[in-house]
């Protein structure tokens, strides 16, 4: 069986920003249907890599291909088409504070489709319920929502156009354990139902063990290793070992070693 084209292909990307080399040659391929985690110490350029994939930032050298299109050479109309095929969940939700929840979720539909208002509203409500928000959250404003609800609303907005690719920046940061657990289950379920490819930047060891297929470890501007958690945690490389072999790391490893793939 021929391997389909990777959804994201990052080739030798280097980035010089604010007087530092943040990326010194990143190579990464994400295949369709995979859930990929990106980890690394603070300041190792994980969120920056996400921004480069989203074309918010241009790398100093190297190229990134998303859905087969080279971001260096892409035209603005082609970029717009790409932007309708992916959904993004920012670290701080980035919901529009002047719109309420249902207006936020409907926003991409209003911008990019010619559907009538009723259909848009219904589609948005379907996604709102799919992420586990109650109906009465629809008319609330972002300032009135709790952290968990904000993330869910932002996720609904990211998914409203039924994208093929979902990018998440620290999705479980700041969530209570149950909230984080529910979020993981939600993402897994959505992958099953919608056939998503998912890339997430995260520190959450539980998330990494429970839902990722492979994890890329970023350190000193390079991908040190790109492997499933079972293999990654056994790595002998110093940076990776320090990351995963602390008391937290070993505890979760112990929990999941036998049960990987719940």
């Amino acid at each position: 069986m021929q391997m389909a084209d990777p959804v994201i292909k990052i080739e030798n990307v280097k980035l010089f920003l604010a007087g530092q080399w943040i990326h010194c040659g990143i190579n990464l391929e994400v295949q369709r249907g995979e859930i990929i985690g990106i980890v690394g110490g603070s300041g190792s350029g994980k969120s920056t890599l996400l921004r480069e994939i989203l074309a918010l930032l241009t790398p100093t050298s190297g190229n990134i291909e998303v859905f087969g299109k080279d971001l260096n050479k892409i035209s603005s109309t082609e970029l717009l088409k790409l932007q309708c095929r992916w959904g993004v969940l920012f670290q701080q939700s980035a919901l529009f504070t002047s719109l309420n929840v249902i207006e936020n979720i409907s926003f991409p539909l209003q911008e990019h489709t010619k559907l009538d208002k009723t259909t848009i509203k219904e589609l948005a409500l379907i996604k709102l319920l799919a992420v586990g928000l109650p109906m009465d959250a629809a008319t609330k404003y972002p300032a009135e929502l709790s952290g968990g609800m904000l993330k869910r609303a932002a996720l609904a907005r990211a998914l409203v156009m039924d994208p093929e690719l979902l990018l998440l920046d620290e999705p479980t940061a700041g969530l209570d354990p149950q909230g984080a657990e529910e979020f993981d289950a939600l993402v897994l379920n959505l992958r099953k139902v919608l056939g998503l490819t998912i890339v997430m930047v995260t520190h959450d060891l539980d998330t990494l063990w429970q839902i990722t297929d492979k994890v890329a470890f970023l350190s000193e501007g390079r991908v040190l290793e790109f492997a499933p958690m079972t293999k990654l945690t056994l790595s002998k490389q110093a940076a990776i070992a320090t990351y995963f072999q602390g008391p937290r790391g070993r505890m979760t490893q112990h929990l999941y070693e036998g049960n990987h793939g719940i």
Partner: protein, 376 residues
């Protein structure tokens, strides 16, 4: 239970080269000057070795441990010093302080530019600001042209909302402001005209001053403060909360959704507000003229169209779009340059208002020069 006693030191009775430490070596317990004096005295002694006995220390916190460490270090410069008698907890604490002390390095000092270096730095920053200004103008202009050829992309609702916020909501304050300016101008000018017995010319002067200069200028300055700061703060907050990034990843141009509506909205609202200001300025002038110079309202209104030409009105209102562009562009540019903190929002808002007002006055001056050359 031992009472908390102030920290103190004393020469040991048993051994001549031993210093016993007593009391609570804590933030409250240490009186630095007294202990300093005591330690300085011992520093002058000539014994080759010294023992610090910490047995009788009742309590110790980090500041106490730090002091002890400092004195031990000081005394150790000239002789051998031994620290004994620390109990288990105090040993741990002292060990931690010792470890931290060894890692101490001087803090990096912020570079203080002055003289030529400061001038260079300011010039460099001004150059960067100019570049981002040009980039901003270019992007906005090309988006505007694009919108004109695709009228569907014009955000009618957003524009109307801006007109409501900047124009409709400001009617009250502009009316009040202009009315009072009318009164002030009349008083100043009328006073002088009285000396020449030429009070009737107040009408000519008011017409010229208010319609050509004061109404457009003061309206623009008030709106720069009111709406310019609002735009900058709104866009700044959106930038901090990554809403601008979110828009970019969703394929919606911020210049189309956020910036152009503000520019169009102000372009429509400001000239209308200027006419409004003209009306109330003249009303204020009329009231004061009637009051101070005894010229009736009817006389005023009869003479007015005879001596004040339409061109004054047109020139005044014609300046408004230029002012509107200055306010909106400066406000939006500074809003997008906000970086990450509440402090930055405040700073950029200030810059936006100050720059807008500055450039408004510069533009007004340029207009005056232009019109005087053209003899308008």
């Amino acid at each position: 239970m031992s009472k908390s006693v102030n920290a103190s030191v004393a020469v040991s009775a048993q051994q001549k080269n031993q210093i016993d430490c007593f009391g609570a070596w804590t933030l409250q317990g240490i009186h630095k000057q007294n202990l300093d004096r005591a330690f300085k005295k011992w520093d002058r002694r000539t014994e080759p070795s010294l023992i610090l006995n910490a047995e009788s220390i009742t309590r110790m916190d980090s500041s106490g441990a730090w002091q002890l460490y400092q004195w031990k270090k000081q005394l150790a410069k000239k002789r051998e010093v031994q620290l004994i008698g620390l109990n288990k907890e105090h040993t741990l604490l002292f060990g931690m302080i010792e470890q931290a002390a060894q890692q101490l390095k001087p803090l990096p000092q912020p570079i203080n530019y002055n003289g030529l270096a400061l001038l260079g730095k300011k010039a460099f920053e001004a150059w960067h600001e100019l570049k981002s200004f040009l980039r901003f103008i270019g992007k906005t202009f090309t988006t505007a042209i694009q919108t004109l050829s695709h009228p569907k992309q014009l955000r009618g609702r957003a524009i109307i909302s801006i007109i409501e916020n900047t124009g409709l909501d400001a009617l009250g304050i502009i009316a009040l402001l202009s009315f009072m300016i009318g009164i002030v101008l009349t008083y100043q000018m009328g006073f002088q005209l009285k000396n020449f017995g030429a009070t009737l010319f107040i009408i000519d002067l008011l017409g010229l001053a208010i319609l050509r200069e004061f109404a457009p200028l003061l309206t623009a300055i008030m709106i720069a403060g009111r709406s310019g700061s609002a735009f900058t703060a709104q866009l700044g907050m959106m930038k901090i909360k990554e809403e601008i990034d979110a828009l970019n990843t969703m394929g919606v141009l911020p210049s189309q959704l956020l910036i152009l509506p503000r520019i169009w909205g102000l372009l429509i609202a400001l000239p209308l507000l200027t006419v409004w200001a003209d009306i109330f300025g003249l009303l204020g002038g009329m009231a004061m003229t009637h009051n101070m110079l005894n010229i009736s309202y009817t006389d005023f209104l009869q003479r007015f169209p005879k001596v004040v030409s339409l061109s004054s009105l047109i020139i005044g209102v014609g300046k408004a779009p230029v002012f509107a562009l200055i306010i909106a562009n400066t406000a939006c540019l500074q809003g997008l340059r906000v970086s990450g903190s509440a402090d930055s929002v405040g700073r950029q808002t200030t810059r936006s208002v100050v720059q807008a007002i500055f450039f408004i006055i510069v533009a007004d001056a340029l207009f005056s020069i232009l019109f005087s050359k053209l003899n308008i």
